[in-house]
């Protein structure tokens, strides 16, 4: 265990706990952005620079900002008055701890492969070549999925009063 990994993992665990427990939703979203950035740092630390940068770009730049916008659009009157947790939170904590124990036991009892020596390095060039040759079909499918998801998202979030079909119905 190197010191870098220890520091990063402690930051990650503290940030994730804060993101899931804080009462103020905006603080939650900011902690989440920090957690995603630390994930990117861990990827970079594991010699996957390109993946780490993409992680920071997409998660911190897009998903965390999306969460922030959603929180600001959705803030209700009840904000901050009641407890942020469900009433049977003890059971929930127990179940998640049980899940963690199962994962821990599985990891500790399984025979993990010894990491190969030498530097595993991944360059953007290799990724680009593989994406355009071996993985070109999955790439296209993911592009289609993203387009469909974004159109669906815009359609769902649209105010229904202003859509064309509703106006037609009202006029008739």
């Amino acid at each position: 265990m190197s010191l870098t990994f220890l520091i990063l993992s402690i930051l990650l665990i503290v940030g994730a706990t804060a993101a899931m427990t804080l009462k103020n939703l905006v603080h939650c979203a900011l902690c989440l952005a920090g957690v995603f950035a630390i994930f990117g740092l861990i990827f970079i630390y594991q010699n996957a620079e390109f993946i780490g940068l993409i992680q920071i770009l997409v998660y911190v730049g897009a998903v965390a900002v999306l969460i922030l916008f959603a929180i600001m659009l959705v803030k209700g009157d009840k904000f901050g008055e009641t407890s942020p947790f469900i009433n049977s939170w003890k059971l929930g904590v127990f179940v998640s701890f049980l899940l963690f124990l199962v994962i821990l036991i599985c990891v500790l009892t399984s025979k993990l492969p010894q990491p190969t020596e030498g530097v595993g390095y991944i360059s953007a060039k290799v990724i680009g070549r593989e994406l355009m040759t071996k993985y070109v079909l999955p790439l296209e499918v993911v592009g289609l999925l993203l387009t469909a998801a974004l159109i669906g998202g815009v359609f769902l979030a649209l105010k229904k009063e202003n859509t064309l079909t509703n106006k037609k119905i009202k006029n008739e």
Partner: protein, 103 residues
């Protein structure tokens, strides 16, 4: 104790925290954020195993992470749009108030 074990246990801890967030929080947005956290923890496993079994030009694990990130972004876009649409109807962002999606 393997070098791998640290990363996988860390990933398990983050996954459990995200799971606890989905189970415990009332707010639907934070529940979706917990799902994002679980997906990111799974990505960490992919990168770790890809790095551990480094063989020349084989980058399947890293490519898989790229696709997971794309799918997670799509999921987030649709999820938050759904929460917004339901919020307009119920005037609440707490998942326990959503007992019907009709009308």
């Amino acid at each position: 104790m393997n070098e791998l074990t640290g990363y996988i246990v860390l990933s398990g801890i983050i996954f459990s925290i995200g799971f606890a967030g989905v189970l415990l929080r009332k707010n639907a947005i934070i529940m979706l954020a917990g799902i994002e956290l679980m997906l990111a923890a799974a990505n960490l496993n992919f990168i770790t195993f890809w790095r551990a079994n480094w063989q020349g030009d084989d980058i399947t694990g890293a490519i898989f992470v790229l696709f997971t990130i794309a799918v997670a972004a799509a999921e987030a876009a649709v999820g938050f749009a759904l929460v917004l649409a339901i919020f307009r109807h119920y005037k609440s962002s707490e998942a326990q108030d959503y007992n019907s999606l009709k009308g």
